[in-house]
Amino acid sequence: MIHHIFKLVWQRKSRHLLLSLEILLAFLVVFALCAAAGRYYQLFQLPTGLSHQARWLVSIEGQDHDELTQTATTASNTEPLMAQYQRALKQIPAMQQVSFTDLPLYDLSRQTTLLQRADTGQSLGVDQISVSDDFFAAAELPLIAGRSFNQTDNGAAHQPVVIDQRLADTLFPGIDPIGQLLRDDATSSSTSYQVIGLVQALRTQGELMAVAPTVITRLSEQSVPAILLLQLAPGTDRAIEQQLLQQLKQVRSDWRYNMEPLTQKRQSMLRTQMIPLFILAVLSAFLLSMVAFGLFGVLWQHTSLRIPELGLRRAIGATAGNIYWQIIAEQLLLNLLAVSIALVLLVQLPLTGVLGEHLNWPLFLMASLVATLIICLLSLICALYPAWRASRLTPTEALHYE
């Protein structure tokens, strides 16, 4: 019987062409949605290197760098600004860590640069962030090898850097990255770096950021503070904001301070990153409903055209159930043909690896399976009523149907 149904579907391929194309298109969109959702899920499971609970992020605005270099020499207080902030904020009892970065966390902005391996000259585009010595403690970013920055790095011949596993795997495959030398390849400045530590990952945009090779450089103690990452005692409530502002204003009252709990920033960042997925989902839902209507209409029309044939089948011994299942089986078969064509096209993506880890084999298999199930279910639902109607007709009605 399967063979028979296959023959029928094949012989009617031209009549089914449009329908197949429609199914194919719907499959592609649903596949994209499943793959994207799967990818997001995968990313979400990966370490970010950031702790967000009981953390505050403060960004400072209004700094005038010209004025700063002047006052740095003339001011009576020669203590670096970073140290001043640190001292002021530590006055708050709940304050546990005060650290600085040059890049906001859980934020869309990112810095990239080009690094070169000193011995081989191999170069690589990397994400870059500069952090103060306390950052590793404040973010609870664990080192898996080597050490983080400290006072002994002052005046070192090579600027110390901590790199992530991805950078280590890419530039130093199979060798211990600790102690290796890197050069800045982006600018003509011949800054040279030495790897002193290794972290699993630091994804500054948060959970949904793709893994990228990342280099962490040391923020000089003299630099103008831009972003602060503060760790407070667990359970500290939002009322701390007033105290924070008060302490910050003690150092520079003319600057502006934007502060936000990191958990809140993470939430809004996740929401922002989910937007493309949301759009894709809306698009899929829209397309699927269009396809469902189209499918239903075409199926209705096809079964109507076939009623004399179905009547004949009834006359020669098919039960109502036989007719019902034949129509459903034909629809599913057609569906699987269209899906197979789509899969032959889509399998090129993981085969050629153009999308890299954005569409690896597990993701491809998961998305194919789920999308196939969804499309088959849709087809099935659309076929149920036309099939039922066709199976209800008596043989004579069917044979003389016009």
């Binding site: 029928l8 006359a315 020669i316 011994g317 039960t319 043989p395």
Partner: protein, 220 residues
């Protein structure tokens, strides 16, 4: 073999009710060749369809091989259509997307039978109607007479006891009609019971008995 008692059938269209059959009593013996004749619209097809269980009467009883058909389930009726009856229609009703051989095989698909056996039986049936050479053709590549012979092969492939033919030559010219008639006669000689609706007195003469229908009733 077939016994109809007090069969009536109405058709309801919009507000008009048509009495297509009115109190029909008819018996067909095994091995008979019965012709049903009558003017157009008198209820011949309706009668044949009720004999062949394609349609249900409004009232009356049908007995087949001594078995009274009461509330038979759909699958039991389907089995009778498949195994006891063979149908031939005026307009052939072949499936155009299927090759001749696949069309002939069709009734066997609704039985549990290995594919090779189905194929062999279909080939044998086509041989009987002399169309072995056209096995791989599609129906629309054949003449009307050939198509009706394919339909005969399809009706006979399951070796039914009773062949029901509704104006089998109605769409054919006289030469093709004669070919089809000789096939039917050969089948009757081989033991198949045949009930045929026809307009053609010549054809009817070949049968053992002529049943005349007028306005839904049998006339003697």
């Amino acid at each position: 073999m077939i016994k109809l008692s007090a069969i009536s059938k109405n058709y309801q269209t919009d507000k008009v009710q048509t009495r297509a059959l009115d109190n029909i009593n008819l018996q067909v013996q095994a091995g008979e060749f019965v012709s049903i004749m009558g003017p157009s619209g008198c209820g011949k097809s309706t009668l044949l369809n009720i004999i062949g269980l394609l349609d249900r009467p409004a009232s009356g009883q049908i007995e087949i091989n001594g078995q009274l058909l009461g509330k038979y389930s759909d699958s039991q009726v389907a089995k009778l259509r498949n195994q006891t009856f063979g149908f031939i229609f005026q307009s052939f009703h072949l499936i155009n997307e299927l090759r001749v051989i696949d069309n002939v095989e069709l009734p066997l698909l609704y039985r549990k039978m290995p594919a090779a056996e189905r194929r062999a039986k279909a080939k044998a049936a086509l041989e009987k109607v002399g169309l072995t050479a056209r096995m791989e053709h599609f129906p629309n590549q054949l003449s009307g007479g050939q198509q009706q012979r394919v339909a005969i092969a399809r009706a006979m492939v399951g070796e039914p006891q009773i062949l029901l033919a509704d104006e089998p030559t109605g769409n054919l010219d006289s030469q093709m009609g004669a070919e089809v008639m000789s096939q039917l006669l050969a089948l009757n000689q081989a033991g198949t019971t045949i009930v045929m609706v026809t307009h053609n007195e010549q054809e009817a003469k070949h049968s053992n008995r002529i049943v005349r229908v007028f306005d839904g009733q049998l006339v003697q």
